[in-house]
């Protein structure tokens, strides 16, 4: 398989090392602050928004109205309030995203850590399975499954999305587990007679937390994007509004040709903004996992400054 070089990319980190770097840098990175800010605003909108807005399904006579005082984001073709729909859709999309990310995290931890730690034929089998799932294209599979099931509930869609999105992070977790497994303290715990589940949960799992949190954030992004794509095709959750289903109705309601930008721009913008906020958070996690990404630019800057000073002196 195609694994050799990627699996050694991120140097292993210990919790102690992370703790010291955290103490050294008092202020959090600006990317982290901006990322958390964006995500918080969107989450609050999804939580509180539905309580404040009008009925998202109420049909009115004033269809396709541009933004006004009565409808802050205009109306759809059937006179429904776009802002109200957006608030409910935000809640729906976030719900699906979190559900999928939790399921995917669980699956990837099971196949990645267990396989990596126990080794042998179990590991061979698990990693073959992981690689096969990884290589099968997700969306076509989701389309086939989604089209056979008429009653698509929230849980079904979440499970389908999770099944197609856990494999990449399972592979990363496996390679990390492989490198941690042979450390001295794990060997010591083994010799001390600790049970495997205790070694995995107490000795290994804490060291995997940065990688797992990065995987969780990534799963959240891809779940929200995947759900949006599925709903946009018309195969999403039946009866729950999400950003993707808003876009589906916008395209079918001729929002493009009628010039209704207020209908299809906001949901896509929120998807992009949330994805961006989450990636910014992931950047900060990456910089913790891979210290070179943090120190190298700073070093290069220092060298360049020194060269300039030398030139000025000469």
């Amino acid at each position: 398989m195609t694994t050799e070089t990627t699996e050694t990319a991120a140097p292993p980190t210990t919790t102690a090392a992370i703790a010291t770097t955290r103490a050294r840098r008092r202020r959090p990175a600006p990317t982290l602050v901006v990322g958390v800010g964006i995500v918080l605003v969107i989450v609050l909108f999804g939580l509180i928004g539905p309580l404040l807005v009008q009925d998202p399904l109420a049909i009115g006579n004033d269809g396709m109205q541009p933004p006004s005082a009565a409808h802050l984001l205009g109306t759809t073709q059937t006179g429904q309030d776009v802002l109200a729909q957006l608030a409910y859709a935000t809640r729906g999309s976030l719900l699906v995203g979190v559900l999928v990310a939790v399921l995917a995290l669980f699956l990837s931890a099971f196949f990645g850590i267990l396989g990596g730690y126990l080794g042998g034929w179990l590991d061979e089998g698990f990693s073959l399975f992981t690689n096969v799932v990884l290589i099968l294209p997700g969306l076509p599979l989701m389309i086939v499954i989604g089209s056979y099931v008429e009653q698509r509930g929230l849980l079904l869609i979440a499970v389908v999305l999770a099944i197609t999105s856990w494999a990449a992070s399972a592979r990363v977790l496996r390679s990390q587990t492989l490198s941690i497994r042979n450390r001295d303290y794990v060997q010591a715990a083994k010799i001390a007679g600790e049970k495997p589940w205790r070694i995995i949960s107490v000795e290994i799992l804490p060291n995997l937390l940065p990688v797992m949190s990065s995987g969780f954030v990534f799963a959240l992004i891809s779940a929200i994007l995947g759900e949006a794509g599925l709903s946009f095709i018309g195969l999403g959750v039946v009866g729950t509004q999400t950003w993707g289903s808003m876009l589906f109705y916008a395209q079918n309601g001729q929002a493009l040709t009628l010039g209704g930008w207020w209908w299809f721009v906001p949901p896509g913008f929120l998807i992009a903004a949330l994805g961006c906020g989450l990636s910014l958070i992931n950047f900060s996690i990456d910089a913790i996992i891979n210290p070179r990404l943090r120190s190298a630019p700073a070093n290069a800057r220092r060298v360049r400054r020194a060269e300039k000073k030398e030139e000025a002196a000469a």
């Binding site: 195609t2 969306l139 086939v144 056979y148 998807i271």
Partner: protein
């Protein structure tokens, strides 16, 4: 040995795809016959003969046990028999796919290669010039990455096609002007129609390549052999390209599998936005018309193409990374 192992893996993956394709319709609650009957029942009462006829038409009338059906299904596949399409009745599924596959192959193939080359080039430069103002552009690539493919496509259509009339809104070529043939009028017209879909795919998948390459460049540039090369007084361009970039590109190439899946998924939705006559658009037609044999045939073809592309990249990988050959 190395190559045999790889071929073995792809065989297992292929078998998994074929078996999934067989079991999904049988394991899930809905049945294609019921779905078609449900639609017919809206127009009036349905007689048992109609049910029988639809079962024969969809090929679900076989009475054998599950293993027997499985063997029969594998046999049909080997003979290239994917069943008959309902949407384009009575055209066989194989023929429908054959008509739509060149469109997707060219669109996705060309835009993926372009994206890869641009991403690698920009990533190399961004990694080489680490610690300069270019670093502040990196967060911008994530915005590109988080934008859903189809939403970008909607924006392009709205701004460039509907308002500015620069590009066509949908389709693969102008049906009133040209006929499919390998001549200049048709090819130029097709390129004109393919420009916006291709631009969408390139822009929304570029960020990932760029960022991955940049981060690998930064990591590679702090290796000792780079320092040695600088100490020897080699030309900076030589260090950048043959010392750093050549090693930094490897994870991107081996990560091709994951990204190709994303691109294929993205292009399915993009095709539906542009009504582009490729595989993805045909698949959505199949979904809307309950055309299950066409849908499953398409799933199989898409999976086989993704597997084939990855196999090709895997074999090429030995050429750019001599270490895998030495180990083999």
């Amino acid at each position: 040995m190395h190559i045999l192992r790889k071929l073995g893996f792809y065989l297992v993956a292929l078998w998994a795809a074929v078996t999934l394709n067989f079991f999904i319709p049988r394991a899930l609650p809905g049945s294609p016959v019921d779905a078609v009957l449900g639609k017919l029942a809206l127009r009036g009462p349905v007689s048992p003969e109609t049910r029988q006829a639809i079962e024969v038409m969809l090929g679900t009338d076989s009475q054998g046990s599950l293993p027997q059906q499985y063997v029969q299904y594998l046999g049909n596949l080997l003979r290239g028999d994917l069943g008959v399409s309902v949407t384009y009745f009575p055209t066989p599924v194989g023929q429908v796919i054959g008509q739509s596959i060149p469109w997707t192959l060219v669109l996705v193939g060309v835009s993926t290669v372009i994206t890869f080359l641009i991403g690698m080039a920009l990533g190399t430069i961004a990694g080489w010039k680490r610690g300069t103002w270019l670093d502040s552009l990196i967060p911008a690539t994530t915005i590109m990455q988080s934008v859903p493919y189809f939403w970008l496509a909607l924006l392009f259509i709205y701004i460039l096609s509907v308002n500015l009339h620069l590009f066509p809104i949908s389709g693969g070529y102008d049906v009133t002007l040209v006929r499919p043939a390998l001549d200049y009028p048709f090819v130029s017209n097709a390129i004109y129609y393919a420009f916006l879909p291709a631009l969408t795919i390139v822009l929304s998948s570029l960020g990932g390549w760029l960022l991955g390459m940049r981060n690998m460049m930064v990591s590679t540039l702090s290796e000792d052999y780079i320092l040695t090369a600088e100490a020897k007084g080699l030309h900076p361009r030589r260090i950048m390209l043959t010392y750093a970039a050549r090693n930094a590109v490897l994870p991107s190439v081996s990560g091709f599998a994951i990204s190709l899946g994303f691109v294929v998924s993205g292009s399915i939705v993009v095709e539906s936005v542009f009504s582009y006559p490729g595989i993805g658009y045909t698949m959505l037609q199949a979904v809307n018309n309950n055309d299950y044999s066409l849908m499953q045939g398409l799933f199989l073809i898409i999976t086989v193409s993704v597997l084939a592309a990855n196999l090709a990249v895997d074999l090429l990988y030995g050429i750019i990374d001599p270490r895998t050959r030495a180990r083999g």
